[in-house]
Amino acid sequence: MLTADVVVAIALGYVGLLFLLAFLSDRWSRKGSRWISNSPVIYTLSISVYCTSWTFYGAVGSAARNGLEFITIYLGPTLVFLGWWYLLRKLVRIGQVNRISSIADLISSRYGKSNTLAVMVTLMAVIGTTPYIALQLKAVTTSFEVVSGGSGDLLGNRSGDSGGSDPALWVAVGMALFTILFGTRNLDANEQHPGVVAAIAFEALVKLLALLMVGLFVVFSFGGLENLFPEEMSRRLLERENVFGGRWAVLTFLSATAIICLPREFQVTVVENARESHLRTAGWLFPAYLLLICLFILPIAAAGLTRLPAGANPDMFVLTVPMAANQEMLALFAFIGGFSSATSMVIVACIALSIMISNHIVMPVVLRLRWLRLYDSADLKTLVLFSRRFSILLILFLGLLYYRLSAQTEALASMGLIAFAGVAQFLPSLLGGLYWRQATARGAKLGLMGGVVLWVYTLLLPSLAEDGTMFGEIVSNGLFGWEMLRPQALFGMTGFDPLVHAIVWSLTANTALLIAGSLFSEQAPLERLQSALFVDVFRNTPGDESRALVRSAAIDDLRLLSRRILGADAADRQFRDFALRQGRDDGVPVADTAFITHLERQIGGNVGAASARVMISEVVSGETISLDEIIRMVDETQQVIEYSQALEANSRTLEQTAAQLRQANQRLMRLDTEKDDFLSQVSHELRTPMTSIRSFAEALLKADEMPPDQAHRFMRIIHDESLRLTSLLDDILDLSHLESGEVRWQVEHLDPETAAVNAIAACEGLAAETGVRVEHVPADTPAAIRGNRDRLSQILINLISNAIKYNDSAEPWVRVECRVEAGRWRVDVRDNGPGAGDVAPDQLFSKFARGWRQIAKGRSGTGLGLAISAEIARRHGGDLSLTESSDHGSCFTLTLPIAQ
């Protein structure tokens, strides 16, 4: 029932519908109705132009042949869109701020508005898209033949020469016409085509619906999923060697790359984006769309493998399965779905490519050929449109050519993957440009070139090669017969999947050359400016660029130029608006940098940034790029970073200071405690004599009768204790003065020997009383010291009297030995007393040291003597220590520095 004519008619009818839709949408949009550009759902659906007839037909084919592999093509974009916040948002923002018209424009603009790069990217885009278009042609042609029951049969294979006209040609022509009608009706400054977008969104729904319907049919006709995937079938479909291996990863990576780098995807995602907030919806809705598309792929594949004879073309299962069940309507609908997916791809891809070709190849050439003398906007506009239409024809022609040349038995999927790998070559320059400020144009050019060459050699060439031809020779034996240069096993990397092999080589070389090239080249000032604008797009304010560029121009020249490009009305409107913004009421704006930059952007929307720059620069004079400003801009970020680092450092020092303060506080608290301890100790020491004084006095007063010698004794004790008390108080005061360093001593040159002799003489009385013999051994060499006479005596008397007092041996002696030793004057006071016992040396010199009490003969010391002496010694720059202590005696040593 379905004849060729019927099918053609329906297809044309569908196309007509689309056209109507586009036309109306354009009309509404121009009238100001913004429902298309405001709808995030339409935006998301338009992105699904990613799913072409490769998806519609080829996915099932791939599933039937290779199992799960097909899913990678949809998982990659899912990941990219899930992470929309970082990458896609940056792309969209840059696109909006810089009015980017294509991916070539983006890359060229980033690297200093380099036209060379623009041309390179454009050419590569065309070459890369060619296989893709060929694949659409093939799909449409084949599916047409299948569904119209023509020369194909249920097997879905094309039977060689179909004798007569090749449908592919007609399809190509038809698509060209279609695209030209759709996409080049007028020029929009933003390069946005709301009509096309609406039509594409509609097509997205159609193809999804068609695929879902076929899927559902399959499930129902089998009576449920269980019957679709019996053990054997699922093993056959899914169990493969190394499913999740290198190819899985590479394919996911490739598809993730493709969703950004494919010209048509860039067009719908970035250029056609009206609102950044739409990304929020697209971020999850697009992956959801992909999920739905994939849902029934495997069931359909399983159905095909089960129901259809072996040898049937799996690519056509979507059609042949319904047809085998005599569901002709469904098959027709599916055909329309596939047709839809193919045409949407071709339309958008051709539009995107034509923009690139006209902006980056045609316009620059034309501008250089001044003899063409294009004076008014109409001329220029015509030229642009003409060049775009021509480009579309050219692209389709190339696609057709590739289709004819390529191996006829090739699966749809593999042709698509070649295209993916091609556009993947944009990735290093793109990502590098977005995130690495140092990436230079030279690096980008080198990388791109290297990657493309390797791609052509390892992937494109083999796909066109047939055994026996020149290409075929190279493929099997390597270039010039060198085995190391075999396209599919470069440098001995054999045994790899050709795609993986190609990707590894091309992208590695690409990235390496980008990095090396950037590191070894300098950025021109404009490049530096652009790189700052791009990489820091989220941090910059609009107008940053115009601060860095200082330009002036004659307002008339500008007006002329603008009218040429934008058209008289649009240009005049721009001028008036800007004049208003500048606060001038004569409608004539000042041609300052901001205005010029604004105009350049507007013009760039029409002819591409590179060309706009050339045109503007003809008109503009005295353009200086303020390097300082650029550097300032770039440095601002640096400053912010440094500032926050400084803040961090500051807070660290603050912490340190706080720590030091805490330490000082602790020290103070310790000193405070020490003082408290000292005070409590002092009060304790004072109480002891006080106790004696009071109690004995009380006893004396109370006693009615007391023997006179006892009373005398008591009074004596009172007297002695009072003395003790007094000397204690004196010592305390003394020590306190010493420690605080308030007292200034009279310092003079002394003969220490004399001091020693005097001290011994002073203790004579005590010695005689206690029966202790005191000896003096003078030093051999005379010496002089600087110090205070009285204080020195104090130490010596203290030491000597201690030695006398605490000596309870049978034949007590004290020896005072003086000598000069190592630049110091040293006196040892030895005795044969009981030693210090088990009192620790440092304890000995502390205040109120214990340990000597119990052996004091009659008169105990104040306990402060040694502490005072030690302090005096310290003040003199000397040292007092206990050098020997045993049961047989002890030795105290005082050393003092000799005066020069």
Partner: protein
Amino acid sequence: MPRQKLRDAAFILPFFGLILIMPPFVDIFFSVRLLGGIPVILLYIFCAWTALIVLGWVLSRRLVTDAETAEPRAPILHPMPPEQRDADG
């Protein structure tokens, strides 16, 4: 959830997805046995996919782009430009 954490989550989500679908993790679920008529590996992939989409949806509701709210550019950290500093000093 504070803004920065949301952004971190947004950053991690695709990597998380990547881990889910890449070996060795995905190999764990590689089984052609049937669960309710569907091979396990298929079930896993589609469920993981759905989960990621749902997570993406949840996050995208919370993430607000700069273009939508006038987000101030870290103003307090901006050091004064040199000219002003001289004037004060």
